[in-house]
């Protein structure tokens, strides 16, 4: 299923065209959801888009769930993994980056991502949300069914916000706070917005048009952030004492709470991406539940076999790996396809944080690349496999008849995202290094960022 977003009447025609292209038997199904839209009276005014309060209820809920994923979810997941002298710095970075991006989103981000333009970027017609009001609508995947545009803006703003926040895990415990903020603003503008436009803006977006499947943002959010994190880890350099001193999580319970809230909130992320409260959302929901359960168990099993002991941190990491991997697939694979994707991602990401990490020789402190980058790539590719009806899926992307063809398109999506995000990140970090510098002094790092950057300590007896 492709992510189609037409936001004003002008693009309605294009929307219908796109829908007509679709190879999926989805129209029939979705027509069933809003049954009341089909009665005689409604048929008479089919041209007028319907807003269903059930959709609004679900999408508002979904939006706040994505906030829950970020703060406190991601903040705690990351915060628990660092040493106690740096926990507040991580919480603050997550909060500030999310807040900053949400403000940039309504200022120019929404317009550049989701309004007109070309195959790679939108235009600035909706700068400062110009023309948006309580009457304006955003289209869903179903012809004739719309959402209040404010809902769509809010929902998408949280996606942008969490993506920026994800990145900070890679260079935690040593970066300057000002560098984080400056980098986030640049990267959001030049990497997040174009990729979001390419993948999600139909029918113009470059990858959208190619029939790439990314239901809820595997490329846009996770691969995108994973690559930026990896580049950041190289640029910022390793933590003092890395590889010599014991650098242990200070509170794995917090990490577990964080992972749990990520799981809970991710239903807004994934099932919310259906934009309507229908069976399609329910499928995405169930898949998100199952893939995660499978991934948590798979990670634990691999740890048990390889290292003899299944760790709680491994279980929590498996949760996140499974969630990342099912993200692009959740709308088009079947429940057992979801279990397969989760299990594979859970198992492979164990290697992501061990073998691959050693290969990469970067101090990606909280494994942003090993989990989000790698898990995202696995998910993007397997989406091309398990969406196939022959494997219990609900259909490949428009124009892609075989698994091989779909895999090709998925790989293209991955490749473009990796290169684009990589290049933008390199330039952004180089720039930030020049302007404000990347790293705190060694003594400050030893004392901890909480005291030296933020003037406080997290815990007191």
């Amino acid at each position: 299923m492709k992510y189609e977003t037409m936001l004003d009447p002008r693009s309605r025609e294009r929307a219908l065209r796109t829908l007509a292209w679709s190879a999926l038997p989805i129209a029939a199904l979705l027509a069933l959801g809003p049954a009341h839209a089909q009665d005689a009276a409604a048929a008479a005014e089919a041209a007028k888009p319907v807003v269903d309060k059930g959709d609004v209820a679900w999408m508002l809920t979904s939006t706040l769930l994505v906030l829950l994923m970020t703060v406190p979810g991601l903040a705690l997941f990351y915060g628990g993994l660092v040493r106690s002298k740096n926990v507040l710095s991580v919480l603050m970075q997550v909060l500030a980056v999310f807040s900053l991006i949400v403000l940039l989103w309504v200022t120019y981000g929404y317009s550049l991502a989701f309004n007109g333009g070309n195959a790679f970027i939108g235009n600035l017609d909706k700068l400062f949300l110009k023309g948006v009001n309580k009457e304006s609508l955003a289209a869903t995947f179903t012809a004739g069914v719309s959402l209040p545009e404010y809902v769509f803006i809010a929902f998408q703003s949280t996606f942008a916000g969490i993506t920026g926040a994800l990145i900070v895990g890679a260079f935690a415990e040593r970066i300057k706070f000002s560098a984080v903020l400056l980098f986030s603003a640049i990267w959001f503008t030049f990497a997040y917005l174009p990729i979001a436009h390419m993948v999600w803006y139909g029918p113009d977006g470059y990858l959208f048009a190619k029939g790439a499947i990314d239901f809820a943002g595997g490329t846009v959010v996770h691969i995108n952030a994973g690559v930026a994190g990896l580049v950041g880890a190289y640029f910022v350099g390793k933590r003092v004492g890395y590889g010599r001193e014991a650098i242990k999580p200070h509170n794995v319970t917090f990490t577990m709470i964080g992972a749990s809230l990520l799981w809970v909130g991710w239903f807004g992320f994934n099932a919310g991406s259906n934009l309507e409260a229908t069976a399609g959302a329910a499928l995405a929901f169930l898949n998100t539940l199952l893939a995660t359960a499978a991934a948590a168990l798979a990670w634990s099993l691999v740890e048990k076999v390889i290292k003899g002991k299944p760790s709680m941190l491994g279980g929590a990491s498996g949760v996140v790996a499974g969630l990342v991997a099912i993200t692009p697939a959740c709308g088009t694979v079947g429940p057992f396809g979801a279990i397969a994707i989760g299990a594979i991602a859970g198992a492979v990401c164990v290697w992501g944080v061990h073998g691959l990490k050693r290969l990469l020789r970067a101090d990606d402190a909280l494994d942003v690349f090993g989990v989000h980058g790698l898990g995202g790539i696995i998910g993007a590719l397997l989406t091309g496999v398990f969406s196939s009806p022959s494997l219990g899926g609900f259909g490949l992307g428009a124009g892609n008849d075989t698994i091989a063809a779909q895999l090709g398109v998925q790989a293209l999506g991955v490749g473009i995202t990796v290169v684009w995000s990589g290049v933008v990140s390199v330039i952004a970090f180089a720039l930030v290094k020049l302007v404000v510098g990347l790293r705190v002094p060694e003594e400050a790092e030893r004392e901890g960022l909480d005291i030296t950057t933020h003037g406080e300590t997290a815990y007191e007896n």
């Binding site: 014991a246 650098i247 242990k248 999580p249 740890e303 290292k307 002991k309 760790s311 941190l313 491994g314 990491s317 944080v353 061990h354 990490k357 050693r358 494994d367 090993g370």
Partner: protein, 112 residues
Amino acid sequence: MKLIIAIIRPFKLDEVREALTEVGVSGITVTEVKGFGRQKGHTELYRGAEYVVDFLPKLKIECAVPDSLLDAALEAIQNAARTGKVGDGKIIVLPVENTVRIRTGELDDDAL
């Protein structure tokens, strides 16, 4: 007067305290410490990293006693704290010059 410092296993605290009370020691001070010695630690695994934890949780008991109580106290600690396995800990006895009870200003043996 002597100051007895004993490093013991954490779960032996209650037994040691009772044993000391029985021989007439009226007070002790306990600190959580980490010990490094012949007893070997364990390995902890976190994502990409493994750490050998050589330091094990122990308790340090400090107890000032009049000379007359020293031997009984030493025996009491040994009996209560012993499991017979590596890592039972040590007792160190230091000479004390004098002691004061803050509340009353009493000195030496009276201060205990």
